[in-house]
Point group: C2
Chain length 418, copies 2
């Protein structure tokens, strides 16, 4: 089955909205073994949408549109699809009932009702979050057009609870893939280590880098999920062996989703003491559901007085070496650990920028310390002449803290110059 | 000038990477008054990329590709563009020099060198962050193909520092747009208030919703930036008047980028006391450069003991009403304010989920309190039967806290049931 995605929305062509929907749909199609060869974006313009739809229906068996199903005047997708397929719109009783339920005792705006009209012969997908249902519309030659709402909060549950199970019954071949995630390894370095693997056709091995992390995706296609998985497994093991302890996880979401379960397994706790990351590390740890067992408190000690008051960092030390120093980061980590009775303490102090540099301390310089009450480890992030911005610096510093904790728990070397 | 974007990368079609590049490029083109009618995605496949390029060059004057410029074997964009345009690749001295500088005293991997080869006649755009330069390649009929690297950290500075100024000299018409941002206003409600404005052609008025916020974009096109701005201004004022104090800012990034400058102006400070948001509010505040003047510390009091120790929330109160209660949220806000000597204190306590619900407290229930030392205000987020997930609940709760603070500073009503 060949598929393509048409994302509808002028806000996408103006760059006001990032097209996350296409990525969600693409991932779901890939897991179903549906080949996606085209994806495009078109504005809220009936004529151009019609041209895209007609071209797509010639090339592909399945066309998935995202966006343009809402109550407003520039929501045109359903009307345009119905016209291209020559189908009338009809009131859909179940969608009307859900729309009324959604509004409860609030009045239903008159512009809302058009959302309960669907092209004749459609299979409806209920919207568990918003008002506009999705639908699968039959087209000539056993082709299909599936219409999904634009807001990701509505599209995602509909895709996973409605569309994927429904499509799974229509498809045969299966794709399985695995993602090997590493920290502190360059893409070029990884490519050299994996060079003879990246030319393969089934499974394919691809490296890519995001936010300073490097990932390797191994993807295989076969008649069944089991056969595809059997093709992936040995290559995944080979990749992991070649990349060594840079690998922090396979098919995991991120560092925090590895570190929190590790702490849980060991029955250990962590207290964070953050200056330049300003709560980002605590936020990432508590992104993981169930973090409350291992994370009881975090201190955002942004000002020097807060470092002294909440962590007991000596005023004299702050005056002598400055807040952005190995000594203060170490002291923050040690005190986070000792004062708050945690197994582990992290201290982060640096200059996230864009302001705040001094003659000896450039923007982008961050010290990250980890303490277990006895030992204290330190990493230094130096900008190496290329300041990557405030958000990048903060995200990277929090990642280093998580990687240090991971490596310390596993007995691996922790310190490095980054 | 008509433009289109071709994003190159199998990871985009598999949904492993979200196509943020296209949004960045689209926004830049829009600001230059370049019409973007098409955007598409193609995998790392020379034949399909070639087909896309040939079609794009027929329809458009300017084709911008993103991705496929790196050192690895599946980076094919430059080679494919050169072949389609019939141009040889030539070593580019300045790019070679920069590549050598980038590696410094580290050895340059042999696979790196191809990045310093460009199609004959290209204008190079230096890569300030990575190794692959971009370039503008002349095509027949005064058309242009611009090649940009895929990683957003490389694409963004090249786009803004290199491509935009270079293209600005080639374009005439200008687009100006304004974004009115609101909080706690539904998209349907906004559309009814703005109905007679959304049909306009120049300026256009479009509403859209993301992450529970509702935005209105007003966009005008004219021969000069000044004329376009003059078309936008009166409509923007009309939109703001109709949406009233739901509007938290115009052409601002988010709530925190409004709240931090307001605090700065007033010479006031804030201390945060977070339970279920786990540092997210502190993180959002410290996302804003310069927050250190108004934000000295934040407490992430995830466990009950931490609420007692760091904020003095009475154990008796926690035992009697539970951590997720109006009383505890109020106490957290009051203590954050009083104990830490801040003008304002925020307390957030709730059940972000997916676990943690009780018979009387559903997942998604969050209490958000704000105190100025004298008065204390409270908001309640109730899931209304539809739990929107952990990330949404946390993000929304932090946004409510920021909106409460904004409204309190401006003397507007603060409390609501959300």
């Amino acid at each position: 089955m060949k598929a393509e995605i048409i994302a509808v929305g002028t806000e996408l062509l103006l760059g006001h909205t990032i097209n996350t929907d296409a990525a969600h749909v693409a991932r779901a199609l890939s897991a179903l073994g549906v080949d996606l060869h085209h994806a495009c974006v078109v504005g809220d313009n009936a004529a151009r949408l019609e041209a895209c739809l007609r071209a797509a229906l010639q090339r592909s068996d399945l066309v998935i549109t995202t966006g343009g199903l809402g109550p407003t005047g520039d929501d045109l997708t359903k009307e345009t699809v119905a016209r291209v397929l020559g189908l009338p719109l009809e009131e859909h009783a179940d969608s009307l009932r859900r729309l009324r339920e959604y509004f409860g005792d609030r009045p239903v705006g008159e512009n809302q009702y058009k959302q309960a009209w669907l092209p004749r012969g459609s299979h409806a997908f209920a919207n568990s979050v918003g008002t506009a249902p999705g639908c699968a519309v039959p087209a000539e030659g056993h082709k299909l057009v599936i219409l999904l709402p634009g807001p990701p909060s509505e599209l995602l549950p509909m895709l996973h609870d409605g569309v994927v199970p429904w499509l799974a019954r229509k498809t045969g071949a299966c794709i399985q893939s695995s993602m090997v995630r590493t920290f502190a390894l360059g893409e070029g370095d990884a490519e050299l280590r994996l060079r003879d693997l990246t030319g393969g056709a089934n499974p394919t091995v691809a490296t890519y880098a995001t936010d300073g992390e490097m990932f390797v995706r191994i993807t295989a296609k076969a008649a069944t999920a089991g056969e595809a998985a059997a093709l992936v497994a040995p290559v995944r093991e080979d990749v992991c062996r070649r990349l060594g302890d840079h690998v922090y996880g396979v098919d995991v979401e991120n560092l925090e989703s590895v570190v929190v379960p590790l702490l849980l397994q060991r029955g250990e706790t962590l207290t964070t003491a953050e200056s330049c990351t300003g709560g980002l590390l605590a936020k990432r740890i508590t992104d993981v559901a169930g973090a409350s067992s291992v994370f009881h408190q975090g201190l955002v000690t942004y000002a020097n007085e807060a470092k002294t008051r909440l962590l007991g960092v000596p005023e004299e030390l702050l005056a002598r070496v400055g807040a952005v120093s190995p000594e203060v980061a170490r002291c923050m980590a040690q005190q986070a650990c000792a004062r708050y009775g945690s197994t582990w303490g992290v201290g982060i102090s640096g200059i996230a920028g864009p302001g705040g540099a001094t003659a000896t301390k450039p923007v982008g310089l961050v010290y990250i310390a980890l303490s277990d009450g006895g030992r204290t480890w330190l990493r230094v992030m130096r900008p190496h002449g290329r300041y990557m911005g405030r958000a990048w610096t903060r995200q990277r510093a929090a990642s280093h803290a998580l990687d240090m904790l991971r490596r310390a728990m596993l007995g691996l070397p922790v310190e490095m110059e980054a």
